[in-house]
Amino acid sequence: MTQVSMTVNGQAASGDVEGRTLLSTFLREHLGLTGTHVGCDTSQCGACVVHVDGNAVKSCTILAAEADGADVATIESQAAADGTLNAVQQAFQDHHGLQCGFCTPGMVMSAVALLKDNPSPSEAEIRAYLEGNICRCTGYHNIVKAIMAASGQDVSAIAAE
């Protein structure tokens, strides 16, 4: 067992993990942060996306030990302490950017990472950025629309679907 310590959502977190413990496992099972979802466990679906030192990564494909000392942000950090949703979360609600909701934590974390680098992305840029986030309800249209809205762009001309 190895002792790991990291900052998770602004708070110090530590625990004893095996070498093979994934960051997603550490977050969900050691810290109880079950907002990070594990959809495929094969790095394809993106439901487990979190930010490690500001970069979007698939937490099922990074060892917890690799994140030792890192600053990790999960979906639980995105709303304000009083429950007020952030701009991306609110836009997902306003534009029906989720159906079953399973992929949503990863979609939101990817969207937040995208908007940090590219504050006003085109539809094509959003779709390209979400290549590694799969929505099996196939609700991509409203996810893309929500991200455009969250970036402050006018989406009134985009049909609701």
Binding site: S43, N55, L63, A65, S110
Partner: protein
Amino acid sequence: MYNFEFVKPSTVAEAVSALGEEDAQALGGGQTLLPTMKQRLASPSKLVSLSGIADMKGVSADGGVLTIGGGTTHGTVAAEAGAYPALADLASHIGDPAVRNRGTIGGSLANNDPSACYPSAALASGATIVTNTREIAADDYFQGMFTTALNEGEIITAVKFPIPQAANYQKFLQPASRFALVGVFVAKYADGVRVAVTGASEEGVFRWSEAEEALNKEFRPDALMDLKVAPANMIGDLHGTKEYRAHLVGVMTKRAVTAAG
């Protein structure tokens, strides 16, 4: 995945020492190795992470050569390899953004997946693979699917790319995996054109020498009109027959020449 001992050295020397143990395995970004271990297709007793070695990260251009640390992520190459735009563009289309934030150029070249993008860039550029013990020319480095000139425990510390006059990479996506069904990298240097093909051959990345000869005479897509790749050594699977891949090699090479101008 089976359990293993995890170590994260901060220098190349410490990593080489840690890799001396039997069944120890270097870990780059883990975007291929960890899924492989989950499938129990690999079960090293010890993983030696290279991600803590600062000397192996970064991109720098000097005297017409772009040097990329072996531990540099695809995302960093995409953002910082502006001196070699075709290479930056290739890096910006590997996997997806989250994968690009972890996966490394050294890891990709050490694994030498027959459908990976970077091997075609390294071979078409006549790159030099720098390890902890020596420098290996790309022409000597790639030795077939998942096979390279690397010895046990040898680490790619950097890759040196001569910057070409013009270059382009064209990838035809395998629609499920998004790896290259066929990818062609064309690079034009003062001393000649090099064409490297990934995704297509049973023997891994290869140079298409007939196309190079034709393009040396005339760097135009029409120069390739009469050339055909023999299907015999192509990969044939449910995503595409040997003949289909052989045809695509010609199509993607023409597109790359057109785009490179």
